[in-house]
């Protein structure tokens, strides 16, 4: 059984945004009980990542580390800034993930208690993002009664 949905994510500026509830809803819609859920983001300057949900500072610190690894320009010249702004997000993207596969167990995302699914936007100006969700697996075998 296969279910696929492409959705437009609202505009977000630089940062990490949790989309676990959204993905759970799509999994419920698919009616697939056991299988896998593949998430794919259609661009090269944001990413789909699993991160810790226990402490908000965890994702902030990871973002700080990524910023240090591929810093954005602080140049005031807008044209240069646009060009410079485009390179670090691509580098960050290359070291993070455009796609992620998670298991589906009992019709829910089979992720850990402290795990959440996040959209990581690396561009500083707000952008709309397209995400394709592909779910493969088996629906639960419904038990039924024989009626006369």
């Amino acid at each position: 059984m296969l279910y696929q949905n492409t959705l437009q994510l609202a505009e977000h500026s630089q940062g990490a945004y949790e989309i676990t509830d959204l993905i759970s809803t799509i999994i419920t819609e698919s009616k697939i009980h056991t299988g896998t859920c593949h998430l794919f983001i259609h661009n090269s300057s944001s990413a789909i990542l699993i991160s810790d949900t226990a402490d908000d500072s965890t994702k902030d610190m990871t973002a700080d580390f990524m910023a240090q690894l591929a810093p954005s320009s602080t140049d005031a010249n807008e044209n240069i800034n646009n060009a410079m702004n485009a390179v670090p997000p691509t580098m960050k993207h290359a070291r993070s993930q455009s796609e992620l596969t998670i298991p589906i167990t009992n019709g829910r995302p089979g992720i850990g208690v402290w795990q959440g699914i996040f959209l990581w936007e690396y561009k500083s100006s707000p952008v709309e993002r397209k995400l394709t969700v592909t779910i493969m697996g088996e629906a639960k075998h419904k038990s039924f009664r024989l009626t006369r």
């Binding site: 699993i50 991160s51 965890t58 610190m61 992620l100 596969t101 089979g110 795990q115």
Partner: protein
């Protein structure tokens, strides 16, 4: 056809643990001949990698490289509730993989001769790590 199974591993300090055999066992148990095996680790301070399996120094060098890239106790990090290795473990996880998909051909994990599947423990203590293995195919 779908086969799903949970595996639990005990780790004893930072480093890589070869789990290729355990994954092969799950594939064999599924009886799926051709398809995809998806491995997912349910933690944010341990991860998965495919790595060369011949010379163990490759993996200790990888760990040494990570240690230099993401130093323990770095002043950049404020999240240190569980010690100096706490936040670096989360960063190391993001820089590696939480999810791996490998092909299943003729009922076996179709890895390269020198490839192995490793669980990479990023914390310095001992932990129990849960993995969810889903095999889809026919």
């Amino acid at each position: 056809m779908v086969h799903q199974q949970q595996l639990r591993f005990s780790t004893d300090g930072r480093g890589t643990y070869n789990i290729s055999q355990q994954i092969s066992d799950v594939i064999q148990k599924s009886a799926i001949q051709s398809g995809i095996c998806q491995i997912f680790i349910q933690h944010t301070s341990a991860s998965l990698i495919l790595c060369e399996n011949a010379d163990p120094t490759v993996r200790s060098d990888l760990d040494a490289f990570m240690k230099r890239l993401v130093p323990d106790g770095d002043s950049l990090f404020k999240h240190k509730d569980e010690g100096p290795d706490d936040m670096p473990a989360h960063v190391r996880t993001v820089l590696t993989e939480s999810s791996l998909s490998i092909p299943v051909c003729e009922g076996k994990a179709n890895l390269g001769i020198w490839q192995g599947i490793y669980l990479w423990e990023h914390r310095t203590g001992s932990f129990k790590r849960n993995l969810s293995i889903t095999i889809i195919g026919e």
